[in-house]
């Protein structure tokens, strides 16, 4: 696929996008290889109260937490949770938001208005607030956090898709395809959707960053997966009462969050620079 190669080669020339890609690769590697990379893989469940709150050392690279567990190992397993939350929440928002955006963009009547107003409602309050309300109502657990995040993020996809679909309707190829007798479904899925893939991809990457931050905030407030799950936000909350002495306890998970989100943001920016508008222009010329 010449399109894909074009994207990848241009992306490779963007240094910050590469850094982003590297950070994401690091995250995925940590998550996948957690049992192998961890120095104390059992510390996710086991307690060693005698070793609590030790400073970073040769045995405990990032020190120990209030239960005596190795901070570094728990951080690695926390990466798994972060990725799972990110992928499923953003994926679900995409699956929900893109079709809604397509329908709203394609039709022009009351349905379109209604759909966009509904998405406005969800955007009326900052995502974190609504997510907190939903997560608290349902109870602190991993699936509930994912649900809360998906329900609050889909409008972003819907909006982007709606705007792009409307813009595309003015293009000649849409008019001609429709005149040739293509059904609404065929036109939307086979012709419109591939052309708006780029903004969707960019939004997905940036969305990963936002979602992970919001998930961490939920964890911090105690609304995330319950202990002993090594979720990063919750770990930061746990560490507060031991400051300023056990500073590593609070600093490490925060840095992990920071690097992860920065990775997705950098990649998203790089993708946006590459995919838009060059790729879009070349593809619309091909379709017809």
């Amino acid at each position: 696929m010449s399109g894909l190669w074009f994207v990848l080669s241009r992306l490779a020339r963007d240094r910050s996008a590469l850094i982003g890609l590297l950070l994401i690769a690091l995250l995925v590697a940590c998550a996948l290889a957690a049992p192998l990379l961890a120095t104390h893989p059992d510390d996710v469940f086991e307690l060693h109260p005698a070793q609590r709150l030790r400073a970073p050392s040769a045995t405990h690279w990032l020190g120990t937490d209030r239960m005596g567990a190795d901070v570094y190992s728990r951080l690695l397993f926390g990466a798994r949770i972060t990725i799972v939350i990110g992928i499923i929440a953003v994926g679900a928002s995409l699956v929900l938001g893109v079709p809604i955006g397509l329908v709203a963009g394609y039709y022009h009547g009351w349905l379109s208005d209604l759909l966009m107003r509904v998405s406005d409602i969800f955007l009326a309050v900052p995502q974190v607030v609504l997510a907190i309300a939903i997560a608290q109502t349902l109870g602190p657990s991993l699936p509930n956090v994912i649900l809360a995040l998906s329900v609050t993020y889909w409008p972003w996809f819907a909006r982007v898709v709606y705007a792009e679909t409307r813009a595309l309707q003015k293009e000649v190829f849409v008019e001609s395809t429709s005149a040739l007798g293509a059904s609404a479904w065929r036109l939307t899925v086979l012709h419109v959707l591939p052309n708006i893939a780029s903004p969707i991809i960019v939004r997905a990457s940036i969305g990963m960053g936002f979602t992970i931050l919001t998930a961490a905030a939920l964890g911090f407030l105690g609304l995330g997966p319950p202990p002993p799950t090594p979720e990063w936000g919750r770990t930061i909350a746990e560490s507060r009462e031991f400051l300023p002495d056990a500073w590593w306890y609070a600093a490490a998970p925060g840095l992990a969050i920071f690097l992860t989100v920065m990775g997705f943001n950098l990649l998203g920016d790089g993708l946006r620079d590459v995919l838009d508008p060059r790729l879009r222009r070349s593809r619309t010329v091909r379709d017809g």
Partner: protein, 335 residues
């Protein structure tokens, strides 16, 4: 004329959007496995007592009836009573609103005051050390978790260095309430000791809140200025010999600011969202902590009250931003 049409259209949608928001929150709050009524009644309550309380609070009626009743009372300004504090929610919120507004305003002022000039300089001195340093700030601004930033700032400035207090809004007695904003009231009553105290207390929370906003502003101002710098009118002005500072700070900035004005609306959203978490970290007595506490105590009336306020403020601010955008950008008016 276009302005009027825009205003009218937005006002028409204001009520349905708010209603929709209420409906969503209402449904979420009521359709729940855990039972808030038994939580309020306490662990020793008998089933009969719980049922009686449920009836007293009106939770045993069908959902649509509850909703209509709630909206009806809302229109009259009655937000119901907090399930936890047993006080009218509107009272609780009004008491706490100034704290949040003061924090948000200070954060916004700081981010605008530093963000816009830094953005302009970053564009002018492209690829300089300053530009690269600001790039780092911009990228990290949106990647740092606010609550973590707050905690780290507390760790450094309050705990290790002792330069600022750890949390809360003030030590000692508040100034005479004129506006409700401690900084303003203390200044107006010439109470400089209180002013200093309020300032030192607001420093860290405002910095935490302002950081992502600052990052966004620098980024968009930079992009806007770079964009405008290419235009013909700038070339013309330089050819005419206008002094560079004049070109930059008067003409380029005004053009670039049209997009920045829209960003300020977005900013408000970021700040409001950040306020909820930041207030929790610093024990700031605003509506953010009220929301978090209501949520954690299953105080559904409190949650609804906060959502109504936050939603209404947000929608209004977005409307104002759209209006301001139309005013600032003359091109929009003639379309």
């Amino acid at each position: 004329m276009r302005l009027l049409a825009l205003l009218l259209r937005r006002l028409i949608w204001f009520v349905p959007t708010l209603l929709g928001l209420l409906a969503v929150t209402f449904v979420i709050a009521r359709v729940v496995p855990a039972d808030p009524v038994s939580l309020v009644a306490g662990e020793t309550a008998t089933p009969a007592q719980v049922a009686a309380l449920r009836h007293e609070l009106g939770f045993d009626r069908p959902l649509p009836v509850q909703f209509v009743d709630y909206v009806g009372r809302l229109v009259r300004g009655d937000m119901g009573t907090s399930l936890y504090t047993r006080r009218p929610i509107s009272e609780d919120l009004v008491l706490r609103l100034p704290a949040t507004i003061e924090l948000t305003l200070v954060a916004m002022v700081v981010s605008v005051l530093f963000g816009i000039p830094l953005g302009v300089l970053s564009a002018l001195w492209r690829n300089s050390i300053l530009d690269h340093a600001l790039r780092v700030v911009t990228v990290s601004g949106l990647a740092i978790a606010s609550f973590w930033l707050g905690i780290m700032l507390q760790l450094l400035f309050a705990m290790r260095l002792g330069w600022t207090p750890l949390n809360a809004r003030l030590q000692g007695f508040p100034p005479r309430p004129i506006t409700g904003f401690y900084l303003v009231d203390a200044a107006l009553t010439w109470d400089w000791a209180t002013f200093a105290s309020a300032l030192s207390h607001i420093a860290l929370p405002a910095a935490t809140l302002a950081f992502p906003a600052l990052a966004t502003l620098v980024r968009f101002t930079r992009a806007g200025v770079l964009d405008v710098m290419q235009s013909n009118f700038v070339l013309y002005e330089r050819a005419m010999g206008l002094p560079r500072p004049l070109i930059v700070w008067k003409y380029i900035l005004r053009s670039a600011l049209t997009s920045t004005v829209t960003q300020i609306g977005l900013l408000f959203g970021i700040l409001l969202a950040g306020a909820v978490v930041t207030e929790a970290v610093f024990d700031w007595p605003g509506i953010g902590t009220y929301a978090v506490n209501s949520i954690l105590r299953s105080d559904y009336n409190g949650v609804m009250g906060f959502t109504v306020w936050a939603g209404a403020i947000f929608i209004v601010v977005n409307l104002l931003v759209d209006v301001a955008h139309t005013l600032v950008d003359p091109r929009e008016r003639t379309t």
